[in-house]
Amino acid sequence: MAFQNLSARLQDTMRKLRGKGRLSEKDVDEILREIRLALLEADVNYKVVKDFVAHVKERATGQEVLKSLTPGQQVVRIVNEELTQLMGGTQAKLTLASKPPSVILMVGLQGSGKTTTSGKLARMLKAQGHRPLLVACDVYRPAAIQQLQTLGEQIDIPVFTMGEQNPVDISKAAMSHAQSHNNDVVLIDTAGRLHVDDELMEELVNIKDAVSPSEILLVVDAMTGQDAVNVAKSFNERLEIGGIVLTKLDGDARGGAALSVKAVTGKPIKYVGVSEKMDGLEPFHPDRMASRILGMGDMLTLIEKAVSAVDEEKAEKMAAKLREAEFTLEDFQEQLSQMKEMGPIDQLVGMIPGLGSAKQLRNLEVDESHLKKIEAIIQSMTPEERRRPEIIGGSRRKRIAAGSGTRIQDVNRLLKQFSQTKQMLKQFSSASMGKSRGRRRKGMFSLFQ
């Protein structure tokens, strides 16, 4: 994957700058070149990248370096901060009218996810105590109306339809329907259209004029490329949108479109779509998005967490053990308790660059209660068993299960998982060893120094 090369290159660059107390313009340039590539690979628009990098450069040049961080990390920190800031705060608030019914107009390109998002939004509003009405105004795509009706049934929300009539008329009729049926929010699902299709864009303007929505949401696919700026710009110029919903974030798109769209419209990203299911709509978190676009995981957070939680000496020993594949259940237990101090495991995995997309880990779902079980099992072993798990035969397994209040199957699973983990760690250890020969190692975390 391109981004792993990039991450590695960035780390190389950062390594070169280790130990410097102050960054020269050239140092900063070197790092920023990699950042620029990272952003472009993430589909952030070229012009947006250019402006952004220039801005970061200004801030980063000549900066005093914080003690705990290397100069390279300092620049990344600035980039992260600036990205987060540029993307705005958490603003998952819809603008609703002071006098109901409020109208929310959903607009966007074909296939961006308007209908699904309309359903999700309606469901969310209902849960907040509103009485939403969905309005089917996509009269062009075959069965689009039916799609909305089916979704409406699933989430138990009324859907207003008038067949394939003029969308402006449908919207107007929906308003009086809402008034007489006491619906306080009207969600209008419009047809997907190209921003260059004058006629259809005009139709949206007409709907807007007819029902004066309090909120117009532009639905944008997270996989959109460089063209996101043109799309967002056109929709915003014609309609003056109120916010953006970024969809399909459950894929592996880095989502640079988010930054482009925000930069070009200045409008907040209000929600993100994270699954095909009706509950898959979440508030937007600028910090998470920044890390995702950079493709580096939440590196700084992880560095900070690791620094505070990992005892260096222990980590050093652990690294040596990993190298020689002498990793035992005792170490495993220790690792577990250290990891617990650092926070939820699945988040940690996501924070490690490269690991987030590692195939073996894609399905890794960490259940914290499961971890408690694991600890109990390990604690029920003798020190000898922890050091040499291969001696644990049938009757020992029975004893351990009874002692830890678990079942034999749990003990079996743990032993199997342990040997797999050992195998995996061995792989990671030898993979990163090649690149970092001669460097002082601190387990997995040496990746970040």
Partner: protein
Amino acid sequence: MFWKRMFGAEKKQEQEEKAERGFFQKLVSGLEKTKQGFVDKVEQIMTGRKVDEELFEELEEALIQADCGVETSLFLVDQLRERAKAEKITEAEQLKAVLVEEVVQLLQKNAAALKTPEERPYVLMVVGVNGAGKTTTIAKLAYRFKQEGAKVLLAAGDTFRAGAIEQLEVWANRIGVELIKHQEGSDPAAVAYDAVNAAKARKTDVLILDTAGRLQTKVNLMSELAKVHRVVQRELGRDLDEILLVVDATTGQNALSQAKIFQEAVPLTGIALTKLDGTAKGGIVLALANELELAVKLVGVGEQYEDLQDFEANTFAAALFGRQEKMLDND
């Protein structure tokens, strides 16, 4: 047009030629927006100046802005740099011709048309992420095959998304082709099973299988797709004729990940690039051609039935670089 050869329908050459010319115009007008951005830019960069490093940098910028991707853009610019040096090209205008050449070469690397049918039924499966345009592409394909005199059967394999079956049904009725469907929420592999057997029993010429849109990162959905494929293969007793990945032209670099991971689940035979009628440059086509060995076989440039056509590297590059006069003169 292979249907006529294969199944003996009448050939209407004249009409075809007209249609092809019409399509070129469409592609040109579809890419008109692209031209305004990308080509004007190239034109602007490459007019009345000497070849220097600044020019290469501007060119790289233009390519990246067309969604060609960093790697492919750098690759193309490096090619140009080398050739400029080797061929002692000093004028920017001369370099432009070289750029067109390189682009065509890249696009032709894996170019291929839809497979020629050998055996009834000709089975085509369409896969892709959500909202890429699978169902619309199927409708256009069904229309095209029917026009060519083939007996077409569609299979409503998207049993997940609300309204997906109905959407395909509307298309089937409009075009006048048959449809195999189950209930929403049923097993897509069962639909595929029924469809293949129905196609065999009904002596269908072409079977087109729809599938639910899925993000390539959803492991369970990707295995579901692999299962559907296995069932079709087993019931057919041979490989499918075409498995097309539908890619939205507005997609950025994620298209590479889509192609790679879908390829791991099912043996893709090509790409159908949709929605090229926006301002999207479709430069992702270059990245796909450069980084993966996957041919773009079809492009969609509008909402009419006729707006889905075979991908032609020359035509595409010519339209991209606005040389329609020359192309049409050669016809």
